[in-house]
Each structure stands twice: as structure tokens, then as C-alpha cells.
């Protein structure tokens, strides 16, 4: 556990969380970017068959594509405001689904898993202008576990790949 310095640990975790909330919520709310929602989640592969664990308001979603489809078909537009978030390191050396050769620690924090908790408000809009004016803000709390994106670790990986992906997501309207 002592392989990563405390400041690296906090820096990597908070930066990852910051980047995540800054990109994920705008994607959910914007009709133009919704098609990329599924790309925020881990993908099961032969080597690593694990699926993301997604629960929205107590409803278990079996697959990220289901989440994306729901946003595409049932939520024309939404505006999320992240009013508070916090994060902790969970495991400095997250090895789920890795080859035996890749089990070693990483000093730069690239193998960390991170838990993020967000508290904020959301407005769901219908399409018409009138509805927009009347949409009321609801409070939500959402917890994520982010894990490293193995594809992004590869030196030959395409640029712009997300470095962290959602392994676990739990959304709840609290107001």
C-alpha cells in the first residue's frame, strides 16, 4: 500500500474525479453527446468479463447501453449541477482482469481505483420552452467507483481515450 506517495494519491484521485464529473454530467444532459454515454463504462472482455454495476433510483441496469438508451429516449434534456463532490482512493493497485504479468504496483497512481460521491441538483426538461421554464430542480446523490481504463494504459492507445471508467454507479434522487 505504501508504494504511492500520499500527495500523488490525492492528486491523481482528485484530478480523476474532477475530470470525470466535468465530462460525465454534461454528456448526460446534452442531446448531441448522449450517444457517447456508454463509453464512460468498463466493457466486459474475454479476459476481463466483469460488467459495470449500475443502479439508478433503485433500478438495476444490466448494461451501459441500457442507460444510454434511456437517456436517448426518455430524457430529452437534462441539466445537472454538481454542487459538491468528494473522492477517496479505494485500491492503489486495482488488478481485476489483468494478466499475471501486469500485477505489479504503479508508483504514478495509474492503477488506482477511486470512489467518488457527488451531491447536486438536476432539472429534467421536456422539449417545449414552457416546460423548460417550469422544470423544478431535484436533488441527487450519486456514487461511482472509477477504475483504470486498460486500453488507455497501452502506449499505442489512441489519444483521447478516457483514463478512468465507471465500474460501479449508484444514482438516487434525494429530493
Amino acid at each position: 500500500m505504501a508504494d504511492i506517495s500520499e500527495d500523488t494519491e490525492v492528486k491523481v484521485a482528485t484530478d480523476a474525479a474532477q475530470h470525470f464529473v466535468d465530462t460525465f454530467y454534461p454528456t448526460l444532459g446534452n442531446p448531441k453527446t448522449k450517444a457517447t454515454i456508454a463509453s464512460f463504462y468498463i466493457k466486459p472482455t474475454l479476459v476481463s468479463p466483469q460488467r459495470p454495476d449500475i443502479t439508478l433510483n433503485g433500478n438495476v441496469m444490466t448494461d451501459p447501453s441500457e442507460v444510454q438508451k434511456m437517456f436517448e429516449t426518455q430524457i430529452p434534456k437534462a441539466f445537472y449541477e454538481v454542487q459538491s463532490f468528494d473522492c477517496h482512493l479505494v485500491n492503489p493497485n486495482y488488478n481485476v482482469g489483468l494478466d499475471d504479468a501486469a500485477l505489479g504496483p504503479n508508483k504514478d497512481g495509474k492503477k488506482m481505483s477511486i470512489v467518488v460521491m457527488v451531491s447536486g441538483s438536476v432539472k429534467y426538461y421536456k422539449t417545449s420552452e414552457e416546460e423548460e421554464a417550469r422544470a423544478e430542480a431535484r436533488g441527487f446523490t450519486e456514487t461511482f467507483v472509477l477504475v483504470p481504463n486498460q486500453d488507455a494504459q497501452n502506449p499505442k492507445a489512441a489519444k483521447g481515450l478516457k483514463r478512468w471508467l465507471i465500474q460501479s454507479q449508484n444514482f438516487r434522487l434525494v429530493l
Binding site: 490525492v10 433503485g58 433500478n59 430524457i75 459538491s84 436533488g139 467507483v145 429530493l175
Partner: protein
């Protein structure tokens, strides 16, 4: 005090010359003799009658069209004038009033007759960022003032309320009770949305002309007398059987005419608010009022609009039946002052008004009043239809249906943790740390100071002083050093924070399960403290939403907070406790009621493992499952809601089966 039960929602501002606020504190009505009464700065009578005529600053307000002659104090009983309608019930009605007057004699608020409470002029809104809001920032400013002013005096739990507001040019004029005005005035030079506010006392209302000095000394006397007369009139007009307050044909009421309240056009608009204030004072609680009066008739009052009687909505917000027949309402505009009132109205009568012939009237009324069923005696929709419409409305507010908690425990580890955590956190945090936390456990808390609030629960937010220095809200905390220093690692560091935080009281999980939503999922890839599994071990992630009450040792003040808390639990190190907390993240926000699933849900963790009672219930559940084709979970819900009465549960099922989701049934459809 649990803050949930706090202040009633704010009414509309500045829309009417109405009286705001409930009954003011008590005053003994049987003040000795005819000595002149003193009026305190709030316009209420002062209790010690000895201070005769001491304070005349604000005299002249307390008159209710009264006569200058002091009359002997009377009770409602002896003075009951001739009345219409409810005479045969006079006796019973009087009995009700009699019962109340001994307990609470409420002064007829003197403010209703004239200027009333004090006013302040506030400048600076127009240069603030809020000025671009649709209402030019008025609502934001008022909320700001109330919140800040309420928070000024940490010892006082009393929320500051602004009664009326209006905009004059770029200035905002507000009215509030003198105490509240004093508080609000302290906010002078405060910064609101980037602009410094200037708060000054308003120019005093122009002196009332022609009111002679000698009248002032009898003002309260007259008010007291007027109150008693109103009581008598109200008593005669109350039908306890029908729970009906008959306010029809007020202009013909001899009692009112005797009082001279209908002798001129100016007083006519005052009599009604005055009467409402007296009404208000008759009841100890809103509940008592709701129980006593469910219907009001205002028939035969020549009303062209509701401006003269608008206070009815404040005094009886929960009316179910309202009769406005035989008035002069021309169109729906005449009812606009009640556009957002009477949310529980079920039956409205408008016969004998010109408005009756309007074809769009019924649709508009149904749109305005969500619970309205009957208009002019015709049933337009059923309670079932209303419930269905509400369900649809709720669904559009949350496109993701709100289901019960998803609690996927492993060997009851999560359940046992929560059961131990909650009471221990409230009573013995050190023991809690010793039980579940080790040198690697991480804890932090974050404050969300801008969380949305429910419009129905607008009470002031208690200061967060005790928490703010620990808050690791990363939207605010951007420097790495701060981000590091507010993350507490190891039981010792956590203990230091926990001992500095206010003591807390969480609702009992068993008896107040509805105050919580707790979810639990397995999670892979945690550190194995034994070092044996390089790929990590499995654990649980638990997210809990709820509320608690906190109290600082230094004060007796209690505040209710809403929270969410996420735990990651993993297996403990060898030789230590079996379960350890890997991560504990707490987020706090202003209290608001938790959005619970539409069908009250039973969290699996609060069901006792096995007991005879449970077995009996299981048997009943299976019977209902057989009868209805519902899955056991839903059958269980249905039975819980009907007190485990199989017959009633079946009736409830029959009534609701069309609205149940497909997954409520074993074969996906209702049988």
C-alpha cells in the same frame, strides 16, 4: 425542536392588503376594567394593564371601525346577534367556541386596520447579479434576507419572515413584524449577489387624518370588543354537523351592521380580514382548524372578484368545499387571487354567477385545482382519475422511476454493519472506530451548501459553522494541500474530527425505516489486508441517504440535516475485526424530505431474520400471491399497507392492479 414541522409555506407577497401570519401570542382578554390599554411595538396588547396610556407611538392603528365609547367586555355567548342559517346549531357551535376561548384568547391584531407592521426600503438589488432573474431577483433577495436574518441570532430558533414585499422603481419595500425588522436591518451593507445592500427604515406612513387623540386610548378596547362580536357572529354562522362556516350574505347580517362595519366602502374590505383573524385565533392548531371547518359558503355577497375575501385562503387553506354561488363573478379573472390557493379543494359551486355560462370554465378550474372533483354539483372526475394523473405528473418529474432500495447484501454483512453503525455513531464514536476502522480507513465529509430545497419546507437553514472547517467539497477546495489535509486517514485522525463534530441523533432504523434509503452492492478489487490475493478481494459498497439531528454541546439548539454517506467495506486484516471500513464519505445538505419510492418499500435489512410472526406473514403473503398472481414482494407490500389483513389487501389490489408495473406479476401481467 425537530425542524421539519416548522414554518408554514410563505404565502404570496405583496399581492393583497391581507394579514399575514397566524395568531399572535396570547393576551388576557379580561383585563381589569376600562383602563386604556397599551399597545406594544408590534401592535399587540400589552398584558399589564397598569401602564395606562404609556405608549402612544403607534396608537391609532388598533381601531376596527369601532365606537369611541368603551363598552363592557362581552363574551361571544352573551352577545350572539340574530343570525342566518345556523341558528339551530347555535348551541353546539357556541360550545366549541367556549371551549376554545378559555384556552387561547387571541387578540384581534390591530395591524389589520391600518399600516400594520414596520417596513424597510432595500436598495442594491438592481445592481446585483440576481437582477437578471425573471422576477428581477426579488424572490432570491427575500430568501436571502430571511435566511441571513434568521441565522443572525444563533440562539433563536425563530425564523424571520417577510410578510409583504413590493418593488418601487429599483427599491424593494418589505414589511415584517418589528422583531423581524430589527433583525433584517442588521443586514445593512451585506453583499447580495455581488451588490452591497442598503437597508433603511421606510418613511413612516402618512399620519392618519382626523383621528382624534382621545380615540387612541380606547382603541384596544374597541378592538377587543370587536373581536368578541365577531366571535358571536361566527358562532352563529357555524354548523358543526356539516363543518360548515356560513359566510353568506354578510351585508345583510344585523350583527355586522350593528358594528357599523358595512357603513362605508372602506370598511367593507376590512371586515372580512378581521373576521378571518378572529377565526384563526379560535383554533389551537392547523389540524384542529382542518377538522372543524371543511366547507365555507360565501354565497350572496355581491362579489365581482375575490379581493375583498382573499384572506379566506390564508385562514382556510385546506378547504374541501367552497360555495360562491349567487355572486357577480364575470370571468375567471375574478378568481385569480386564488389561482394557487386551495390545493385540496374538491367541490366548487359557482351557480348564479355570470361566469357560469363560460364554456372553458370547467377545464380551467380543473387545471387550477388539482383535487377538484365537482363543479356546480356535477362530478367531473373521480379521485382515482386524480391519483392516476398525479402518478403521471410524478413520472415526468423523474424520468427514471423511483424504486425502492436495491440492497444486495452478502451474508448480512452490510445489514449488520448499518445496524451497529447508526446507534454507535450517535452514542459512542470511539467504540465505533475501534469496531470497524483501522489505520488505513479513510474518512472525509463534504458540505453541499446550495442543494435544492422543497418549496413546502422553506425553513431557515441552521449555520454549518461546526462542519465547514472540515468540508472537503472538491468543487470549492481546489488546492492539493487542502485536499490532502481534509482527508482523514486512520482511526486516530478520524477520531479527532468526530470528536469535534456536533453530537448527532439518527432516527431509529427499525421504527423509522421511511427516513432512510440504504443500498448495498458487492464490489470487487479491494486491497487484501492479508496480502494473499494480488487481484484483490470482494467487499461491499453501501450508500445511505437519510437525516439526523445535531446538537452542539455549547448550545441547546438542535438542527435537522440531510445526509448521504457512502461506505466501502472489506475484509479486515488478520487478527483484527472481520470487517473494516475502507472508505467513509459523508455529504451533508440542508434538510429536505427524502424522495421516497412511490410504493413504500421495505428494505430487506430491517426484516428480522426468522420469527413466528414473520412465518405467519409469509403464509399470508403466499395466499395473496396465489389469489392475485403478484410476485411475493408486491404481495408483501400490499399486505403491509393494509395491516396484514388478507381481505383488505385483496381489495386494495383490485383497486390498484391496473397501475402496477408488469414486474409486479409473476407472469408479467395482471391475472
Amino acid at each position: 425542536m425537530m425542524q421539519r414541522a416548522a414554518a408554514p409555506p410563505r404565502g404570496p407577497r405583496g399581492s393583497s392588503p391581507s394579514v399575514r401570519g397566524g395568531p399572535r401570542g396570547g393576551i388576557q382578554k379580561n383585563r381589569g376594567g376600562g383602563g386604556p390599554a397599551r399597545v406594544d411595538k408590534d401592535g399587540d396588547l400589552v398584558m399589564d394593564a397598569g401602564a395606562a396610556g404609556g405608549d402612544k407611538r403607534r396608537a391609532g392603528r388598533g381601531r376596527i371601525g369601532g365606537s369611541p365609547q368603551p363598552k363592557p367586555l362581552t363574551t361571544g355567548r352573551t352577545n350572539a346577534g340574530p343570525s342566518r342559517g345556523g341558528n339551530h346549531n347555535l348551541h353546539r357551535a357556541q360550545a366549541i367556541l367556549r371551549g376554545m376561548e378559555s384556552k387561547q384568547a387571541t387578540v384581534l391584531e390591530t395591524r389589520i386596520t391600518a399600516g400594520g407592521a414596520s417596513s424597510l426600503r432595500i436598495d442594491g438589488l438592481s445592481s446585483s447579479k440576481a437582477a437578471s432573474n425573471p422576477d428581477r431577483g426579488l424572490e432570491a433577495l427575500l430568501g436571502f434576507l430571511e435566511r441571513k436574518a434568521s441565522g443572525l441570532d444563533a440562539k433563536s430558533n425563530r425564523p424571520v419572515k417577510i410578510k409583504k414585499s413590493s418593488m418601487k422603481g429599483d427599491s424593494v419595500i418589505i414589511t415584517a413584524s418589528q422583531d423581524d425588522i430589527d433583525q433584517i436591518q442588521k443586514l445593512d451593507k451585506f453583499t447580495f449577489a455581488g451588490s452591497v445592500l442598503s437597508i433603511r427604515a421606510c418613511d413612516p406612513p402618512s399620519p392618519r387624518d382626523g383621528k382624534s387623540v382621545e380615540k387612541k386610548e380606547t382603541v384596544s378596547q374597541a378592538a377587543q370588543e370587536a373581536k368578541d362580536r365577531f366571535r358571536a357572529i361566527l358562532a352563529a354562522r357555524y354548523d358543526a354537523n356539516l363543518k360548515l362556516l356560513n359566510l353568506s350574505a354578510l351585508a345583510l347580517d344585523t350583527g355586522l351592521r350593528e358594528m357599523g362595519v358595512f357603513d362605508g366602502s372602506t370598511t367593507t374590505s376590512k371586515v372580512f380580514p378581521a373576521m378571518m383573524v378572529v377565526c384563526e385565533g379560535l383554533f389551537k392548531s392547523p389540524q384542529e382548524k382542518r377538522d372543524a371547518i371543511i366547507s365555507v359558503t360565501l354565497a350572496d355577497n355581491n362579489l365581482a372578484d375575490v379581493s375583498a375575501v382573499t384572506t379566506l385562503a390564508q385562514t382556510f387553506p385546506d378547504l374541501k368545499n367552497l360555495d360562491l354561488s349567487r355572486n357577480k363573478f364575470m370571468d375567471i379573472k375574478g378568481l385569480n387571487a386564488w389561482r394557487w390557493k386551495f390545493r385540496h379543494l374538491e367541490n366548487l359551486v359557482l351557480t348564479g354567477n355570470p361566469i357560469e355560462s363560460q364554456p372553458t370554465l370547467k377545464d380551467e378550474l380543473l387545471r387550477r385545482y388539482p383535487n377538484l372533483q365537482i363543479v356546480n354539483g356535477v362530478t367531473l372526475r373521480t379521485p382515482e382519475e386524480i391519483a392516476a394523473a398525479k402518478a403521471v405528473a410524478e413520472a415526468t418529474k423523474s424520468p427514471i422511476p423511483i424504486a425502492g432500495p436495491d440492497f444486495r447484501d452478502v451474508s448480512q454483512v452490510g445489514e449488520n454493519f448499518i445496524r451497529q453503525f447508526l446507534p454507535l455513531y450517535d452514542t459512542d464514536r470511539i467504540a465505533l472506530l475501534g469496531t470497524f476502522y483501522d489505520a488505513h480507513s479513510v474518512y472525509s465529509l463534504s458540505l453541499n451548501l446550495s442543494s435544492p430545497r422543497s418549496p413546502e419546507h422553506n425553513m431557515p437553514i441552521q449555520p454549518w459553522t461546526a462542519y465547514i472547517k472540515f468540508s472537503r467539497n472538491l468543487t470549492k477546495l481546489t488546492h492539493l494541500t487542502a485536499r490532502m489535509s481534509r482527508r482523514y486517514k486512520g482511526a486516530q485522525a478520524i477520531q479527532q474530527v468526530w470528536s469535534a463534530l456536533p453530537s448527532s441523533r439518527h432516527p431509529d432504523l427499525q421504527s423509522h425505516a421511511d427516513k432512510y434509503l440504504i443500498e448495498c452492492h458487492p464490489i470487487p478489487g479491494l486491497v487484501d489486508p492479508s496480502g494473499q490475493s494480488p487481484r484483490g478481494v470482494d467487499g461491499l459498497i453501501i450508500t445511505m441517504h437519510g437525516e439526523f439531528e445535531d446538537q452542539l454541546e455549547a448550545t441547546t439548539e438542535k438542527s435537522l440535516r440531510s445526509f448521504s454517506r457512502t461506505f466501502i467495506l472489506g475484509p479486515g486484516a488478520p487478527g483484527g475485526p472481520q470487517i473494516r471500513v475502507v472508505s467513509d464519505m459523508l455529504t451533508l445538505r440542508a434538510w429536505a424530505p427524502l424522495a421516497l419510492p412511490q410504493i413504500a418499500s421495505i428494505s430487506p435489512e430491517i426484516q428480522p431474520a426468522i420469527d413466528p410472526e414473520q412465518q405467519k406473514r409469509d403464509a399470508i403473503t403466499m395466499q395473496l400471491v396465489e389469489k392475485t398472481g403478484m410476485v411475493p414482494n408486491y404481495a408483501n407490500l400490499c399486505l403491509t399497507e393494509t395491516g396484514w389483513n388478507l381481505e383488505q389487501a385483496f381489495i386494495a389490489f383490485t383497486a390498484n392492479k391496473d397501475r402496477l408495473p408488469a414486474d409486479a406479476f409473476i407472469q408479467g401481467v395482471a391475472r
